[in-house]
Subunit: 636 residues, 2 copies
């Protein structure tokens, strides 16, 4: 089977209501407002290397550094998102803002190429002394992703040149050669950025350094983080680094030996993304196998139903199997975004719908929930239950999630389909218009649907000349009873392999494929190991996980609601809500608050009849504060 | 009605199995092992004012101080507990250990009387510069409680003299006089210790200073903690004190204006204890009213069913109404112990069973759970649910709870009954033998029962000479259908007022009162505002809250269990378990783990029949690690 690769996102026009709205919001509101925030919060000032005292709202880290230590990465991510925006439509103002930032970076760069504004501004003689904690390579990775995106969209390579000089410096300092440090970053990111640079340039030195970073990670004894700690003169007993273990940064053992997903969730996802990239690029079966084992581990024991990852705020990451608390769920937006990256890489290692299912799940739920409807408010943590206390933030001490969601949405078209020499594969649906080259022929593809609100999909296939190729259609794992026809003739959907139905035929101009993906609302039950969800159900329809929010269920906190197992789940099109959504409705029961005097009593509370209305999870917390649950108690 | 006052605990012999065992364990194991820990963890070394670097296991506080800042208090509390132990039986070894500590304090004390080993050892010129954070008066309070206890038991007043010199110094520095600082401590404690000293000495200066501390708290503008911050030269923006608000230390407003229980739970309880003491002593109706309002607030909205207080680890304290998470409950042992102190004071302001009910609830549940069966392991936090992860500690970074529970148990006899000029009131039951003076006559009282395992109680009343007095018997608030008789003649229990049945008669030698306090197991339901407990029940029998622990319910985590509403709750005497306990048993359902492949699925899990066995909560986590729940899902 020929190898499938993602298409370039700017070539995919998003015509469907769902993504068109999200993209426009990000382009017109999120990205401009993020630049404003970077300025207001003095983050852009840090490029001048004359750093003002950090504003009060940024508490110092336990290790004595301010959060500025990773501000370079936020700037890099904003440029990446802004560049993706430029790919949709050029904008002189945005471009001038980026150029001003590049000016600053150019001025800041040290003669030897080193470029980290925190160290250059604060402790220039201490650079590369604490990779474990201080994010130098992480920052470099995000700056590089920004530079690549800006170059790809504008053709301007000044910043990419700056970054390549910086990389030359990094390559001279680190490696297995004589006099080199065998270092790698505590926060993975540079690995995946280098893979992107390699795809762009095909310059093998970038692939080699990415390979070095991945192979070196977790090698011991000695462990590199111990070596650099000793070099700093920190006694072991005095070390007070975050979390105090190497699982936190997935450096507890060599990556090919890792079989449990551990530590900081975003770090883990970025690492696995790069591992999957590298496994595909160099054909490393052991590395691919490690990715698969880690994938199974997270899917079978550690993922929220929303595709949120990492239950714990304490390590921003994973704990033990089935530990998925709802109200205190961390489930960082960045982690779900990064899961999408990883899933996309796995999907291109093996075109298997199980990866696309998770890509889609994370996209529509755990990632998208991080951005408000107005495009200017955020969740860093994405809990699955609220007593009404938490609400969205207009910025965050650590603004990593804000730009992760904007760069995702601004480039979302790139996740819809992939092409190979002899075929095209549809992963997502939702209304797109594009043209791809297959078997030497340009083929116009138009996918028309109101997905995710409906599973009725029409795909118009228009090759310039009649051509034989594979049209691969993802039949979502959640879908039962899918129907597909070509020009009105039914195709046997049971022939689908690994979630993809392959239609190989001679395609002619005007060919029309129709799909019916039934999406009745369903109840999901969690593995009994997830003790928090015992006796509870989550509602899902198609790719969307639903939640029960107080705004739709007035009369007290929604935790009072219980859903009988036999209650019918009805869908309701709501044109009045968020420009049109499908809600779910059911006859339910509610605990009657009644006249409680004491906190505890022996008389059971009474139930009363109630209507339960559920809204797609990603839309919660857009109508003021209020309680919310994803997992609803079920009564039989 | 004449005023009731607690009896001295050494006069109350604990004969019943329940308390006899706990007391003996504390005397023979807990108190000696605590001295060993104080030594091993270098806490006793701090008295030498040559403080070694803190051991690694004590992370530094955010404010740069090590936890040593409150070690004086731990030593004071240990001496208090050890002195109570001496009251039961003298012990040369323990006395020598206390004398050695007193030697050190004597040497350490500054010429002007100041005595805080942390400041004297570390920053002698900075004393009294940060009352907000650094516990100087808190330490003084615990040292004073220790000195009082040691004096009362041994008659040796060397340490009490040291403490009185220290108090003279404190009284000279703080107050409303010219040149004095209008300070009070961020952590209340000295207030209640001064009330004890006043009861002992009747020297009004101690009452006056306690009054000053209570009245001054929260007065503003200016707020004293702002004044001392400015004096330190800390800019407001740089202040990084714990929590960053004055609610944390109940100093946000004058105490008589406080109507919501806020902040650090132990601080709050210590304050309210002293407020109730003072209200009684000076007859301050406003202060009493404030105590009552605060009492109602905590009882109606903020107390765990176990009498645990303070849901949040973040502030070690209170959050918002009905926020009572189970698995992450902080519910510090100290807070439940301090609730007992407060309840006892309230009970002596008004002899109302509602206070005794809570005193008893906290005693048998939230406080006692903090000490292991073997008397050498502890809980600092007392969660109401566990997935099997947490377990008891053999010591704690901040060992405050360890000695709070030992001093409570070592003096528990003092909570059983109170006397007045013309009567005696029984608050607790459990098998005691004592002699009290009532109406000028010595009266021997023997209460024989296996309470809390049974509510069948026999009280033998033996006045030296026939005497008329009130015998007041607490009819617990949880008890329905109590029966009482005197010498076989039934007494009308419905005549009980505020939870106490008063029997006024001529008492003769050989009089026997019998009580039957039915204690069928009951299900408790939480106010619907407690969203975590919606659809769940807690099991209680008599004063004991029960929990469902994996050790008694093997076959997976106990969160799989569900209790049908109509399931009969059976009691079972278990002589084999912890020297004899009563467990509860019921036919229940359990979610069948079955053959789950995925983390989520649309097929509901199946239920299977199961037996649920519940154990008194205070005994959990004494048989290795395992899951536990207090609130069990109920099915109808």
């Amino acid at each position: 089977m020929s190898r499938y690769a993602p298409v370039n996102f700017p070539d995919v026009k998003l015509e469907g209501q769902f993504w068109h709205e999200r993209l426009e919001t990000v382009l017109t509101r999120t990205i401009p407002s993020q630049h404003k925030k970077l300025s207001e919060y003095t983050i852009l000032d840090s490029l001048k290397l004359k750093q003002p005292p950090p504003p009060l709202r940024f508490p110092r880290h336990a290790n004595g550094f301010t959060v500025q230590v990773f501000w370079d990465s936020d700037i890099g991510k904003w440029i990446e998102a802004a560049s993706y925006a430029l790919a949709h439509r050029r904008d002189e103002d945005i471009e001038a803002k980026i150029e001003a930032i590049v000016d600053d970076f150019e001025t800041a760069q040290a003669p030897d190429g080193y470029l980290n504004c925190w160290y250059l501004g604060h402790e220039p003689d201490k650079r590369w002394t604490n990779l474990r904690d201080n994010h130098e390579m992480y920052n470099a990775g995000h700056l590089l992703e920004g530079a690549i995106a800006y170059f790809q969209v504008t053709g301007r390579r000044r910043w990419l040149d700056i970054m390549e000089r910086y990389l030359e410096h990094i390559y001279s300092v680190f490696g297995t050669g004589p006099g080199q440090k065998r270092g790698y970053d505590g926060h993975e990111e540079l690995e995946l950025a280098l893979m992107k640079l390699y795809y762009l340039t095909r310059d093998k030195k970038h692939l080699d350094f990415a390979t070095y970073l991945i192979n070196e990670r977790g090698q011991q004894p000695p462990h590199f983080f111990d070596v650099e700690r000793e070099a700093r003169g920190d006694a072991e007993k005095q070390q007070r680094y975050v979390q105090g273990n190497y699982e936190y940064s997935q450096s507890h053992k060599p990556v090919r030996e890792q079989d449990k997903v551990v530590g900081h969730a975003v770090r883990a996802m970025y690492l696995y993304t790069a591992m999957a990239d590298l496994a595909a690029e160099i054909g490393d079966a052991d590395l691919k196998r490690a990715c698969e084992v880690l994938w199974d581990d997270v899917m079978e024991t550690k993922m929220y139903v929303t595709a949120g990852l990492g239950p714990s705020a304490q390590n921003e990451g994973f704990t033990h199997d089935f530990d998925l608390p709802n109200q205190t769920a961390y489930a960082e937006t960045c982690a779900s975004v990064a899961l999408i990256f990883w899933a996309q890489r796995m999907l291109h290692l093996d075109l298997d719908g199980k990866y696309a299912d998770i890509l889609e799940l994370a996209m529509f739920n755990g990632a998208l929930s991080g951005l408000s409807r107005d495009g200017e408010q955020y969740f860093y943590a994405n809990p699955l239950e609220s007593d009404g206390t938490p609400t969205r933030w207009d910025w965050h001490t650590c603004p990593c999630c804000t730009m992760n969601v904007s760069r995702l949405v601004a480039s979302v078209g790139g996740y819809f389909l992939s092409t190979a020499q002899d075929g095209v594969a549809f992963h997502l649906y939702g209304g797109i218009d594009t043209e791809v080259e297959i078997a030497g022929t340009m083929v116009a593809l138009r996918e028309i649907s109101t997905y995710p609100w409906s599973g009725d999909i029409r795909i118009e296939v228009d090759p310039k000349v009649p051509t034989t190729f594979d049209l691969k259609l993802r039949i979502p794992g959640w879908c039962e009873g899918a129907k597909v026809s070509v020009n009105g003739n039914a195709v046997d959907v049971s022939a689908a392999v690994d979630g993809y139905l392959t239609i190989n035929r001679d395609w002619f101009e005007g060919d029309v494929v129709t799909m019916e993906l039934p999406m009745p609302p369903v109840r999901l039950y969690a593995h009994p190991g997830v003790i928090m969800d015992a006796g509870r159900i989550a509602l899902k329809r198609g790719p969307l996980v639903y939640c029960v929010e107080e705004a739709d269920n007035p009369g007290g906190r929604v935790q009072r609601l219980k859903l009988p197992r036999d209650a019918q789940l009805k869908t309701e099109k709501r044109a009045d809500l968020f420009d049109g959504v499908v809600t779910l409705k059911a006859d339910a029961l509610a605990i009657k608050e009644g006249d409680w005097q004491a906190l505890y009593r022996t008389d059971p509370p009474q139930d009363e009849k109630a209507t339960l209305t559920a809204l797609p999870y990603y839309l919660w917390a857009n109508r003021g504060q209020g309680s919310m649950v994803v997992w609803v108690p079920e009564v039989q």
